[in-house]
C-alpha cells in the first residue's frame, strides 16, 4: 500500500522532526556522453533522518544511482552542499566507516572468492569484530533465508540470494545510514517484505535508510517516497506527482 508522503513543509512527522543524518542542498551533477550533456542531478535537495526509510523512486536513468553515489562520496557534485550530522556529523562521505554508512550497490560487489558467510562477515573482519558479530551475522542469514548457503560461493547462488547476502553485509554492523540501490530487484514479494521488515527493525533503533527502488510494491514499507525524474527530485510517489 502506498503511503502518501505529507506535503512539503509540514513537520508533523516525528521522524522528520529529529535532526537529520544527511542533508543535501542544490546538488547538481552533469555528465558528458559524447557530444551530449546529461544532467543527472538538477539542484536536488534531500534529507534523511534517523529512524526513517525513504524510498527513492523513478524510472531508469532518472538519476537515482547518481544521487546515491554523491551521498556516499563516490561522486562529487558540481554544485550544492552536502552535510552529515547527528551520528555522522563532521565527516566527509568518503571517510565514513561501514558502521556509519553502509552500501548496497546495484552491482552488489560481493567478493567472488569468499563464501556467502565470509562475505557477510567481511565488515566485521576488517575492523576485528568477527567474534562479537558472528551471532548477528547468523541471525541475519536466518532471517534472509540464506543460512543454508553459508559455505557456497556467490557464483553458486542465485541473483536474489546474492542480493540478500549483500543486504545482510550492509546491515551487519548496524550502520547509522544505509544507502541501497534496488536491494529487492531480484526478490519475490515475500522475501522483499522480509528485507524491509529487517530494515524497519533497524530503523526503530535509529538507523536511516535511503532506498532506490522503482517497484511500487515496496513504497508501502517506507516512511517517505521521493521521486526523481530527469535529475529533479520531488516529494511523493511518481504517480502522485505526475
Amino acid at each position: 500500500m502506498v503511503k502518501h508522503a505529507a506535503p512539503e513543509g509540514e513537520e508533523s512527522d516525528p521522524i522528520r522532526a529529529r535532526s537529520g543524518l544527511v542533508r543535501g542542498r542544490g546538488l547538481s551533477k552533469t555528465y558528458r556522453r559524447g557530444a551530449e550533456q546529461v544532467h543527472a542531478l538538477r539542484a536536488v535537495d534531500i534529507d534523511v533522518h534517523p529512524g526513517e526509510l525513504v524510498a527513492l523512486a523513478g524510472p531508469s536513468g532518472s538519476g537515482k544511482s547518481t544521487l546515491l553515489n554523491v551521498l556516499c562520496g563516490w561522486e562529487t557534485p558540481e554544485s550544492g552542499s552536502l552535510a552529515y550530522s547527528g551520528a555522522l556529523a563532521g565527516r566527509d562521505a568518503i571517510d565514513l566507516e561501514w558502521a556509519q554508512l553502509a552500501l548496497v550497490p546495484q552491482a552488489l560487489g560481493l567478493l567472488e572468492d569468499l563464501t556467502v558467510e565470509e562475505n557477510i562477515m567481511m565488515p566485521a573482519r576488517i575492523v576485528g569484530k568477527v567474534k562479537s558479530e558472528r551471532d548477528r551475522g547468523h541471525e541475519l542469514m536466518d532471517r534472509f533465508k540464506i543460512a543454508h548457503l553459508g559455505r557456497r560461493y556467490p557464483r553458486q547462488t542465485s541473483l536474489g540470494e546474492q542480493q540478500r547476502c549483500c543486504v545482510a553485509r550492509a546491515m551487519l554492523l548496524r550502520p547509522a545510514l544505509m544507502l541501497a540501490d534496488e536491494p529487492t530487484a531480484h526478490q519475490d514479494a515475500a522475501l522483499g517484505d522480509v528485507l524491509f521488515e529487517t530494515m524497519r527493525d533497524h530503523a526503530r533503533a535509529g538507523g536511516g535508510f535511503l532506498i532506490a527502488t522503482h517497484n511500487p510494491d515496496t513504497w508501502g514499507h517506507c516512511d517517505r517516497v521521493l521521486s526523481m525524474h530527469d535529475g529533479q527530485l520531488r516529494e511523493g510517489a511518481p504517480d502522485i506527482v505526475h
Binding site: 544511482s65 547518481t66 553515489n69 556516499c72 563516490w74 561522486e75 566507516e97 561501514w98 552500501l103 550497490p105 546495484q106 552491482a107 560487489g109 567478493l111 567472488e112 572468492d113 569468499l114 565470509e118 567481511m122 565488515p123 573482519r125 576488517i126 575492523v127 560461493y153 542465485s158 541473483l159 536474489g160 540470494e161 530487484a185 531480484h186 519475490d188 517497484n215
Partner: protein
C-alpha cells in the same frame, strides 16, 4: 523482475546441437561472408591472435633454422681452430715408386708443367685457383763447427708477408733467420752452399719464428708448419728458410709440392664445403691422366674431415631437437588456444545468438576459422620472419644451409594449421551448452593423467640407463633425444602432480589462515576461490623455471665433468711443453714442477703399451690437480737405488695385473715395484691405457730413442714466474695448454647447443606463462576492482590490499618456482651419471647445482610478482567506484 534462477533460460534452443540448418545455406549468410573482416574491427582480439600465432610460428620455424645453422657454425668453429690449410682444398704428390725414387716427391723439372695441369684441372672442377707451396730439406756444405748441416727451404706466394723482415726486400734468393745470420756472419748478398755445391744467394734476413729462450707464438699462417719450424719434443728442427720458387727448385732435384685452393671454409655452408671437397677429389685423376700416369696426387683429408665433423655435429642435434620442438609447439598452441578463447569471450553475444538460431558446431567452427585465419596468417608470417632474425642474431651462425628458410616456412605453416584446427575446435565448443561440457571437464580434471606422463618419463629413464644418454661418433658427442624427452616428461608430470597435491591441501590452508590478518586471509581465499586458475599459474611458472634449471644443471654438470676430465688429462692448471734436455733438471726455483711424460715408448714386460710419467714428489702435489689421496701416494715414489726396482703407482689399470718391469722402445728393461694403485692420476692422457707413475729420476740415462717430453706444470699465480725462469735459462716452450681451452672444443658443441636451445624453450614457456599471468589478472580486473572498491569502503587500506596481492602471487608463483626447480633437479640428479661425454676417461660425471640460475630465476619470479602486484593495485586505484559498482 527476475526471480531466482538456476535453471537454464526457457528460450528455445531447438536444433542447436545438431548439424544446424543446411551448412551450405548458413555459410552464405553475412556472418560467414563477412567473417574474415570482422576480427579487424576488434584490435585487441586481432592482436592477441596474431601474437599467439607469431609465437607458434616462431617456435616451429626455429627448429629447422637452428639445425641449419649448427652445421655451418660447427664448420666455422672447426676451421677457426685449425690451421688455414686444413680449411682449404689441398693436394699433394702421392708416393709412386715406379715414377720417382722417393715418396711424395716430384722431380723439379716436372714442377712447372704439373702446376699448370693442376690449375687447369682445378678450374674445370670449379675450384678457386690453387696456390703452390713447396718445401724441401737441403743439406749444406760444412762451413763451421756450429753451422747447420741441413736447412728447410719453404716457398709460397706471400710467405714473406708473414715474417718480420729485418733487411729490405728486392733480391732473389733465400731469406735466412737472424739466428743463423748472426751465428754464421751472413748478410744479404752472402752465399749459402749446398752439399751438392749449388750456391744460393742470401736475399734477406727475417726474425726467427722460434728462437732459443723465446716462446713460439707462431702466427696462424705458419701453424701447419710448426713441426718444421719448432721441431717436436726434444728434437730440434733444422733452420727454416724462405725462398722464391726459382731459387728453391735450383737447390734440389726433388721437391714436395702441395696445392691449396683457397675456398674460405670459414665463410661458407657445409653443403658448399662438401661440394668443394667433392670437386677437389676430381683433380688427381685428371692430373694423372694429363701426365700420362707420371704424377699422382692425393687429396688432403682435412677439408673432408672438417665437413664430416660438422655433419656429425648437425646430425647429432637432429634427434634431440625434436622433443624440444614438440614441447615448444605444445606451449605455443596453449597460447593460441587461450587467444581463441579470448575471441570466444569477445564474440560471445553473437555466438550465443547464432546458437540460439540453430547454428551447429561445424558452422561455428568454420566461422571461427574464417574470422581468425587472417590474424593467424599475419602472425604466422611475422613469427617465421622473427625466427629467421632471432636465429641469425643469437643462434650458432647467421648463415643457413640452402633450403633452410623454406623448410622453416613449411614448419611454421604446419604449426599454424594445427593452431587453426585448435581454433576450430574451440569455436565448435562454443556451440555447446555451457553446462554440457562441465561433466567432461570435471572428469578430465580429476583423472590423474599426469601419472601417464610420469610413467612415460620412467620408460624413457629406463631407456637412458639401457642405452646411455650420449655416445661419441668419431670424437663428436651425439646427444640421445631421451636426455631431453625424460626431463620434459618428468617436469610436465611431476609439476602437475605436485600442483594437484597442493590443490588438495587448499581447503586446509583456507581453514588454517582464517585467524590470520586480512592480507593473508584475502590472498588465500583468492587462491582457493579460483583454484583452477591458481594451479594453472603455478604450472605455468614451474615449467619454464624447471626447464631452465634442468638445462643449467646439465650444462654445468657436463662442463664440470669435462673440466675434471681435462684436469686429469692435463694434470695441472697450466702445462708447458718444453724443449729441455730429458736428463736435465729445469731450475724452476719453486715456480712449478717438472714432469717427464712417456706417451708411446713404454710397454709392460710381456704386455701392452702403457703411459708413464715421472714426477718430482717434493713439488708435484703443490702444482698439480692432486687430491689428498694422490698427495699421499706420491710420497712413496723415491728414486730407484742402484739399478733396483723403481717404486711406482699403477693407475687406471681396469683390472690389468700390476707389472714387475717396463720394457722401453729401445728394448731397455727396468724393474718397478708397485707401491700404490689409483683409478685417477693427474696427467693420465689416455683413458684406455694404464699408467705407471714413477719418480722422475727413474727415467735418467735412458737412450735418446725413448721419447720423453719434459713438461713444466704450474699454477695460475706462478705461471708468469715459471715462464720467466724458463726464459732465463734459455729453455724454449713448445706449447701451453690450460683447461679453459678444452671446453670450447668442437666435439662438445652438440651438448652446448642442445642445452642452449632448451633454454630458449624455457624462455618461450616463461613468456607464455607471463602472458597467462597478465591475461588471468586482466580477465579478473573488473572483479578484483569491484572487490577492492567495496572492501576499501569497508575499511581495508591500500597497503593491506597490495600486500594481499603480493602474498597471493608469491604463494602461487613461488610454489610454481619451487616445484619446477625441485623436479628439474630431481631429473638432473637421476640422469647425470649417464651423461658421460667421454666414458673412457675418468673421473665419472658429477652433478653441479646451478646456483646462479636458481637465484636468477627466483629473482625473476619476484620481479614479475612485484610488477604484477603494482600494476593490479594501480588499476584498482584508478577505478571510478561509481562506474565499477554500476550494473553493466
Amino acid at each position: 523482475m527476475q526471480t531466482d534462477e538456476l535453471a537454464p533460460s526457457s528460450t528455445g534452443r531447438g536444433g542447436g546441437h545438431g548439424g544446424g540448418h543446411g551448412s551450405g545455406g548458413v555459410l552464405n549468410t553475412p556472418p560467414w561472408r563477412r567473417a574474415p573482416l570482422l576480427v579487424a574491427r576488434q584490435p585487441p582480439v586481432f592482436l592477441a591472435l596474431a601474437l599467439a600465432a607469431a609465437v607458434l610460428a616462431l617456435a616451429a620455424a626455429s627448429g629447422p633454422l637452428f639445425l641449419a645453422a649448427t652445421g655451418t657454425a660447427a664448420l666455422h668453429i672447426s676451421a677457426a681452430r685449425s690451421c688455414p690449410e686444413q680449411g682449404e682444398a689441398g693436394l699433394s704428390v702421392a708416393g709412386d715408386a715406379a715414377a720417382t725414387q722417393f715418396e711424395n716427391l716430384l722431380p723439379t723439372g716436372q714442377l712447372t708443367g704439373t702446376d699448370r695441369i693442376v690449375r687447369s684441372a682445378a678450374a674445370r672442377a670449379g675450384l678457386p685457383a690453387p696456390y703452390l707451396t713447396v718445401g724441401t730439406t737441403i743439406n749444406l756444405a760444412p762451413s763451421g763447427p756450429n753451422a747447420p748441416r741441413a736447412v728447410d727451404l719453404f716457398s709460397r706466394p706471400g710467405a714473406l708477408d708473414h715474417v718480420q723482415k729485418l733487411t729490405p726486400a728486392g733480391r732473389a734468393g733465400v731469406w735466412i733467420t737472424d739466428t743463423v745470420a748472426s751465428n754464421e756472419g751472413l748478410r744479404p748478398g752472402s752465399t749459402i752452399k749446398t752439399f751438392g755445391g749449388i750456391r744460393l744467394p742470401v736475399a734477406g734476413i727475417f726474425r726467427d719464428l722460434i728462437g732459443r729462450g723465446i716462446d713460439p707464438h707462431l702466427p696462424r699462417y705458419w701453424c701447419s708448419w710448426s713441426t718444421q719450424i719448432a721441431g717436436s719434443g726434444a728434437n730440434a728442427a733444422p733452420p727454416f728458410f724462405i725462398a722464391d720458387l726459382a731459387t728453391l727448385t735450383r737447390s734440389t732435384p726433388y721437391v714436395a709440392p702441395s696445392w691449396f685452393a683457397p675456398i674460405d671454409v670459414g665463410h661458407i655452408t657445409v653443403p658448399q664445403a662438401r661440394t668443394a671437397s667433392v670437386a677437389v677429389a676430381s683433380v688427381p685423376p685428371a692430373v694423372t691422366t694429363a701426365t700420362g700416369g707420371q704424377v699422382r696426387l692425393f687429396v688432403h683429408p682435412d677439408l673432408g674431415e672438417l665437413v664430416r665433423q660438422a655433419t656429425l655435429v648437425h646430425s647429432g642435434l637432429r634427434g634431440p631437437i625434436i622433443p624440444i620442438d614438440i614441447a615448444g609447439a605444445i606451449v605455443a598452441l596453449l597460447l593460441v588456444g587461450g587467444a581463441a578463447g579470448f575471441w570466444v569471450v569477445r564474440r560471445a553475444p553473437e555466438l550465443r545468438l547464432l546458437v540460439s538460431r540453430g547454428v551447429g558446431p561445424v558452422a561455428l567452427a568454420i566461422k571461427a576459422l574464417l574470422e581468425i585465419a587472417p590474424a593467424v596468417i599475419v602472425g604466422g608470417l611475422a613469427g617465421w620472419g622473427g625466427a629467421i632474425v632471432l636465429v641469425r642474431s643469437i643462434g650458432p651462425s647467421s648463415m643457413f644451409e640452402p633450403g633452410a628458410p623454406v623448410r622453416s616456412l613449411a614448419a611454421a605453416a604446419a604449426a599454424c594449421a594445427a593452431g587453426l584446427v585448435l581454433v576450430a575446435v574451440i569455436g565448435a565448443a562454443a556451440a555447446r551448452e555451457p553446462r554440457a561440457g562441465r561433466g567432461a571437464v570435471r572428469v578430465l580434471a580429476w583423472l590423474p593423467w599426469e601419472l601417464a606422463l610420469l610413467a612415460a618419463a620412467f620408460g624413457v629413464y629406463l631407456a637412458v640407463h639401457r642405452h646411455g644418454a650420449v655416445h661419441s661418433v668419431h670424437g663428436t658427442v651425439q646427444v640421445h633425444p631421451t636426455i631431453l624427452a625424460f626431463p620434459l616428461l618428468l617436469l610436465a608430470g611431476g609439476v602437475l602432480l605436485l600442483c594437484r597435491l597442493a590443490g588438495l591441501g587448499l581447503p586446509a590452508l583456507r581453514r588454517a589462515t582464517t585467524p590470520l590478518g586480512i592480507a593473508v586471509y584475502l590472498a588465500v581465499r583468492r587462491i582457493t576461490g579460483t583454484a583452477g586458475v591458481a594451479i594453472a599459474l603455478a604450472v605455468g611458472t614451474a615449467l619454464p623455471c624447471g626447464i631452465l634449471v634442468y638445462a643449467a644443471a646439465q650444462t654445468a654438470s657436463v662442463d664440470h665433468s669435462v673440466s675434471l676430465k681435462f684436469d686429469t688429462y692435463l694434470g695441472a692448471p697450466h702445462a708447458l711443453g718444453t724443449l729441455a734436455d730429458p736428463d736435465s733438471t729445469i731450475p724452476l726455483a719453486g715456480h712449478g714442477t717438472q714432469v717427464a711424460v712417456v706417451s708411446t715408448d713404454a710397454f709392460v714386460v710381456g704386455g701392452n703399451q702403457i703411459q708413464m710419467i715421472g714426477v718430482d714428489p717434493a713439488t708435484f702435489a703443490r702444482f698439480s690437480f692432486s687430491d689428498p689421496q694422490v698427495a699421499a701416494a706420491i710420497r712413496g715414489l723415491t728414486p730407484p737405488v742402484d739399478g733396483g726396482p723403481a717404486p711406482a703407482l699403477w693407475v687406471n689399470a681396469h683390472g690389468a695385473r700390476a707389472p714387475k718391469g717396463v720394457r722401453y722402445v729401445d728394448d731397455t728393461v727396468r724393474t718397478v715395484h708397485i707401491v700404490g694403485r689409483l683409478d685417477v692420476f693427474p696427467g693420465l692422457r689416455d683413458g684406455y691405457s694404464p699408467m705407471l707413475v714413477v719418480n722422475r729420476r727413474a727415467f735418467l740415462h735412458l737412450s735418446p730413442f725413448v721419447h720423453r717430453d719434459q713438461e713444466v706444470w704450474t699454477t695460475d699465480d706462478q705461471l708468469a714466474a715459471a715462464r720467466a725462469a724458463l726464459t732465463r735459462h734459455g729453455i724454449a716452450v713448445l706449447f701451453e695448454i690450460s683447461p679453459t681451452t678444452f671446453l670450447d672444443h668442437t666435439d662438445l658443441l652438440p651438448v652446448t647447443w642442445i642445452f642452449s636451445y632448451l633454454r630458449v624453450l624455457a624462455v618461450l614457456a616463461g613468456l607464455v606463462a607471463i602472458a597467462g599471468l597478465v591475461f588471468a589478472l586482466a580477465a579478473r580486473t573488473r572483479r578484483r576492482t569491484s572487490s577492492y572498491v567495496l572492501t576499501a569502503r569497508m575499511g581495508i587500506g591500500r597497503g593491506s590490499h597490495r600486500r594481499s596481492i603480493v602474498i597471493e602471487l608469491v604463494l602461487v608463483v613461488g610454489f610454481g618456482w619451487l616445484a619446477g626447480a625441485a623436479v628439474a633437479l630431481t631429473a638432473a640428479a637421476s640422469i647425470y651419471r649417464r651423461f658421460d661425454v667421454n666414458s673412457s676417461f675418468p673421473p665419472p660425471p658429477s652433478l653441479s647445482i646451478p646456483v646462479m640460475t636458481l637465484v636468477a630465476s627466483g629473482a625473476g619470479v619476484v620481479v614479475v610478482v612485484l610488477l604484477a602486484a603494482a600494476v593490479t593495485q594501480w588499476l584498482a586505484d584508478r577505478a571510478d567506484p561509481s562506474e565499477v559498482m554500476r550494473l553493466e
